[in-house]
Symmetry: D2
Subunit: 310 residues, 4 copies
């Protein structure tokens, strides 16, 4: 474990080193609000379980949380529904992107894990439980606010609307699962909540803070709040390790060695069990949809701190 001074120095060095790589990767362009984000942004924030913070770059600029929200909805749903949730969604890596929908067919509408879109939609449906979308949206937003200890986190309604207008694949997946009886609320309601949860705007600082309970074995080490049990926190981290990056989860484990979850907004949340929570952001994505500079920064951080779990 590096000292706080060393950690600050490591993070600062990474911030400087990344300057040569800014603009790498390709910004998500399927909706205008994401496409116009400056590709050269980079931010990183690290919070240790004893409350120390180290950050660099644009750690204070909000970005679109996208799929990272799935970590928080999974935690909520497990707390609310317990292990019954696992009857509706698996916890195995999905294999290639190509197979996503054939596996859904082969496995009768049960998605492989809660971090592929199909799985996250089921989790959101489980949370919504038949209520009106607005209630579900507010609940998720408030949950993330509380974890991040910031009241100002909000939804980018332009992003949410654009997601809805272009979300044909998610419509397809949701209807497919509905056909198998693995979706209870109306498809449009579930997707409304889902698109809104993905449209939360959050900064690296806030995101690292929101994920800190996973580094604290389920308990927020700053507030002392028990977010989830130790066992469940470890299990969520395990799913992040094996399934957190679509069809590049193996690569992330191989190079970074930490449980993590990426989003097409360019953010990545990574957990160092017992030690720290890390958030990085840089909008350019690699082919698998993970932040190119963000993953590079995490790789360096893991090497410098020896924080790989392996």
């Amino acid at each position: 474990m590096p000292s706080n001074a060393d950690l600050s120095e490591i993070v600062a060095t990474i911030g400087r080193d990344m300057a040569d790589h800014l603009g790498g990767g390709k910004v998500a362009d399927y909706i205008p609000a994401l496409a116009r984000v400056d590709a050269r942004r980079f931010g990183m924030a690290v919070i240790t379980t004893d409350g120390e913070v180290a950050e660099t770059g644009d750690a204070w600029i909000p970005f679109s949380i996208q799929s990272i929200s799935k970590v928080f909805t999974l935690t909520m749903a497990l707390e609310r529904l317990g292990d019954d949730l696992w009857k509706r969604v698996g916890r195995e890596p999905s294999g290639s992107r190509f197979n996503s929908i054939v596996q859904l067919e082969h496995e009768h509408g049960i998605p492989r894990n809660p971090f592929i879109n199909a799985g996250a939609i089921v989790v959101t449906d489980a949370l919504l439980a038949g209520r009106a979308p607005a209630a579900g949206i507010a609940e998720i937003r408030d949950y993330v606010r509380k974890l991040a200890d910031v009241e100002t986190i909000d939804i980018d309604t332009e992003v949410a609307s654009s997601e809805a207008a272009t979300g044909f694949r998610n419509q397809s997946l949701a209807n497919f699962m509905r056909g198998f009886g693995n979706l209870n609320s109306p498809v449009d309601d579930v997707l409304k909540v889902y698109f809104n949860q993905c449209s939360l705007r959050i900064t690296c600082r806030q995101l690292a803070r929101a994920g800190l309970f996973l580094a604290g074995a389920g308990t927020d080490p700053i507030s002392g709040d028990v977010v989830t049990t130790s066992k469940r926190a470890r299990r969520i981290a395990a799913v992040m390790m094996t399934c957190g990056h679509y069809d590049a989860s193996g690569e992330f484990a191989f190079h970074v060695g930490l449980p993590g979850k990426s989003g097409v907004g360019g953010g990545i949340l990574a957990i160092v069990p017992g030690k720290a929570s890390i958030a990085v952001w840089s909008p350019g994505l690699d082919e698998a949809g993970t932040s190119y500079v963000g993953a590079m920064a995490l790789k360096r951080l893991a090497a410098a701190t020896r924080w790989s779990v392996f």
Copy 2:
């Protein structure tokens, strides 16, 4: 980290507790030499990086190493060929068993990872490098002997012959890859080596000892031998975590939280980075082909020692 006394007590308790479950699962029956193994066997051995040993049950009885051999051939091949090996085999989880061969087709003969059969066959081909099978077989056997620090580890030739006589699926995979140019030696030569490496007989004690370098960041903490670099050891462990148990890798990560590799002989090797190497054996398998009692024992051990990496 439990004290040595505590560790011995934990292991002994698990040994006693497993008595109620002996015979669970289904012994592999595709070849006679495996089918006639006593389903009620159970052994476990733990070696810590400071050389302490705790064991229980049939830890001294040799069993068929099967797919666990893939960890050792992968290490050998990476040391010999360096990262070029990754041009011929990926490091992503494979998704469902069902898709194994279609993915091989979709990905033009490049197996998803070195722990599915197709990937391990490529690794063996890389090691063989055109030599006669006998040379390759001896080399792998000697490598495992050296890691385990036991000269008597040997190949069960009856198992090797039976594997060859019934290995139509592996013949199919190897020819398929050969058709894509991802196999250099003749199919029959490569498979001969492969079937022999899978037929090594090893005990829990020996297996835990052989895997200890992975807990020691690439260096055998007892002999001081540098088996591989720290970086490579971590990466091998990462691949074990995401891909070590076919289509149940997610389950193993979820329940045990340690990098591991299972074999249809009923053995499992698990690594606690920086702390210990663990081998369990019990012949009855669950549906995914992992030792039923073995996985249960590892789950208990991880819970009692808090050794999960998450």
Copy 3:
């Protein structure tokens, strides 16, 4: 070619023989209006190109046309758009039902043929061409009315509503293709038309009459109307032969030897090029979704008349 008297006798005999098999198969039960149809119904009507009619059983009772409507919308769309339609839909058999959606993914949203649901939805979208659903629905209904020379053919609105309420798989397919840009009108509009076209109620007599132009090389031999060119009529029949019965098209060709199209309402339209148009109806379906008694009757008719094209 049997004489008219012989044909009447053959048809009557089949009608009597089928009595032993009534109730075989399983009535489609995914919507109530189909589920409550009497499983023991059976009707058959044959119209020759010289205008002779032979019929038996319930040939005068209307049933739900379902997928047989795809023959008529394909003809309409080819007449209106010409061969450009084939840029949006293929004409190859789809292989197993299991693969339908993975092939759609593999082939970037281009369905394999116009008789699987995805393909028929594309054809309907091509016909709708951005207009309001009501216009598209009326147009298709009027087209079938004209072909059948009966003004009273109409849509069963209960069936259409039920289809819409349970059509999650079709919603999924349509959104999937929309995501690939192979659907121009809003998904809900296209599906509204599609569900309505499938809900036309028609009798065997009417259906055989409506398909007669295909036996007449594109020209209705009774009215003399040129419905489509000779070349196109032959090609539509070819697609019926290779793709008319989902994943059982090979079986139908093997046993009956005529171009045909089945629907889950229990109807089948079969064409004897140059000679006759045949419609059968019996609600019980085999596993592939083809009328069990209907296919049996067609097999007998083809054997007795030597009308197989092979």
Copy 4:
């Protein structure tokens, strides 16, 4: 039905017209003996059921029969084993090439039809029935000789050897099916026969003659020999229509409208039930592996003679 004089004129005209297209397509180059065939060859022979012959171009030059041999082995196997053969092989189109092996996996080693390689290998295994390969090879060769009424048809042993040396995909398929228990003889024996049957050298004249029994409803109209029953001949033709051209069977039915079987040697056999047997040959293949000029010539012939069955 054109008169004999008209038919000769039609065939001669096609011969002249094809001159502009010679060299189109791509000659199979996976083995040297096929790769060195002159791409500009073109031959066509038509034999009517009353024994008239019309031919043009290189109708007298032998070429490699390749997959067209599957029609003859299927007929042999059905005669010998009866409909029990269909327990080991289906009669449905296979869908896309991409899925061939996953469908074999999904359907537990039962190939979709006897004209894809996997299916033809099963048929050959059924014929071999445990005997030595030489016996099986001689038997198939003699069968084709008898059908073609020519004693000089023989196997190109260079082609057979090359096929064996490069046939990794067929090795893979055969071992895959053996693993499912759908192959009785040793894989190498079955493949030896299979590669030899594909290496028969035959001319258009001979091939058209050999297929004439299919135009004669199972009876050779010249010799009067009953090769198979009328029912079975129709069914073989039906399988040719739906499955004769791999993943382009729909295209062939659409454009030509005749049951046919193509081979990568550039030959195509097409049947006009009740009327004629046609063989064409031109070595350049389209993307689906069917003779480019050959298919074009058949399309013209079908249009000029109105021989399409539709």
